[in-house]
């Protein structure tokens, strides 16, 4: 019985790391532009289809899709923001909502047209691989996904913290007028933030492809999940995204053990409500800007 809970805890931590990658992307976009990316879950699903597609074509594990997902989703996010989204940054929020919800609907529609509505799962012998550590069985696919997610999050944090371009993202989030006054190309910076955020979502999708059956309508679940994590962890806080992701992952895993797998949303929303009541700023929220 004890083993069951420890197993759930480990599974929750592992999937939570991937959730954290999704939420980190959402938080980066919000932190820099104060724009909510309603198409975030759809971008995750693009990554899932890329993972599935590459596996079908080559038999490679979806983790090998990461470079493609990063580059592809970065290009898409950058291009969309640069040539469409930037015109909406200074507009009222409800106008932005329509734009990004529109983008979400378009992506889901395109998925439905290309792949159809049926779930597509990766069936490979590798999905039964396990590591045995101290009598525990750790799912290899999940462990690899979690490690890859942690590496990507760490790289993104380091880039934001130490590179001059990363600091320019902070600067634009902190004082847009000041950033423009010293010649920071804020259109480029906004597009970079969206590209990076989309790349996080896409890479997370590629990691999730072997764990969930991919279908177009999964997207809104991921968008909601990312919102919950971001609100639990704290808006615009990158450590908050990590903490929130792990907490939600663990809460869902315990739901599966204690009640049943379909009850996982009950637990994550329960967590959301508790945090909103006790700490409305989120666990690590209350500070402004990206990456802090």
């Amino acid at each position: 019985m004890n083993e069951l809970y420890v197993g759930a805890l480990i599974n929750g931590l592992l999937i939570g790391a991937v959730y954290a990658l999704i939420a980190t992307g959402l938080n980066l976009i919000f932190g820099v532009m104060r724009v909510v990316n309603f198409a975030h879950g759809e971008m995750v699903v693009i990554g899932m289809y890329m993972g599935y597609g590459l596996w079908r074509l080559t038999g490679w594990p979806p983790i090998a899709t990461i470079p493609f997902a990063l580059i592809g989703l970065f290009a898409m996010g950058y291009g969309f923001q640069r040539w469409i989204g930037n015109a909406f940054v200074a507009r009222p929020q409800h106008v932005q909502f329509v734009l990004y919800i529109g983008l979400a609907l378009v992506i889901t529609g395109v998925h439905a047209v290309i792949f159809g509505p049926d779930p597509m799962g990766i069936q490979s012998a590798a999905s039964f691989d396990v590591y045995r550590v101290a009598g525990l069985r750790i799912d290899a696919t999940r462990l690899h996904a979690a490690l890859a997610a942690c590496v990507l999050i760490a790289l993104l944090w380091a880039w934001l913290r130490f590179s001059l371009t990363g600091k320019a993202l902070h600067a634009a989030a902190d004082n847009l007028l000041g950033a423009r006054a010293i010649g920071i190309r804020t259109n480029h910076i906004f597009a970079l933030a969206m590209g990076m955020g989309a790349a996080c979502a896409g890479a997370a999708g590629a990691l999730l492809a072997p764990l969930y059956d991919t279908q177009p309508y999964l997207a809104s679940e991921f968008t909601l999940l990312a919102f919950i994590i971001v609100i639990v962890g704290g808006l615009a806080s990158l450590p908050g995204a990590l903490l929130g992701g792990v907490l939600v992952g663990v809460a869902e895993a315990f739901a599966a053990v204690v009640i049943e797998p379909s009850a996982k949303s009950l637990f994550s929303y329960g967590l959301l409500i508790i945090v909103l009541v006790l700490m409305p700023q989120g666990l690590l929220g209350g500070r402004q800007g990206a990456g802090r």
Binding site: L164, K167, A168, H170, A171, D174, N175, L177, G178, A179, R180, A181, I182, G183, I184, R185, R287, Q288, G289, R292
Partner: protein, 237 residues
Amino acid sequence: MSALLSVDQLQSGYEGVAILNGIDLHVDRGETVAVVGANGAGKTTLIRTLGGLLKPRAGSILFDAKEMAGSASDRVCEAGLAHVPEGRQLFATLSVEDNLRLGGHLNRSRARMVRNLTRVYDIFPRLGERRRQQAGSLSGGEQQMVAIGRALMAEPILMMLDEPSLGLSPIMVATLFDVIGQLNRDGISILLVEQNVAESLAVAARGYVLENGEVVLAGTSAALLGDDRVRRAYLGL
């Protein structure tokens, strides 16, 4: 046309509101020029339009023989026209040094980042002591030093300062105008926009008086300081 900055019939404003109604002014190489006027005269609109933050409706901005009207701020800064904005507009949660480094990110200056940092710390030793501190935690005077240092990092030919003395103590204001004089002697041309008429005309060679978006008076500082209208309206004499 040998002027470094030459502004001709510049019109600008915000959505639906015209603020500048045809401004003519120029700054020669090596000069310090003041633009003075009351609140709402259009001084900040002028600086923001010159700096590429606002698109002019008409007119021309010739800087270093290049037409800048309508160019975005990154091109203006790359050309060597630096902007120290009103209210400083620092990156409050970043360190002093990060604020300065971001000022030096332009192609024109990036390669000499370290040398320029040393130069700024030489001019403002206080900033060197506080380089790791968050810019938002500094005093108003120190923040103004960061704002000027950040602009210096771009190795400007001409520096525009928008109300740099705003909210500073009298001692700090005196120090600030000393620094502006020093920068000018180091070869940087200065366009100074101020409500503080006496001090800014003391440091500038020439000045323009702005009222309701128009230049109503122009001349040498001495002539302006001696003008009855200026004395009554701005100096309270």
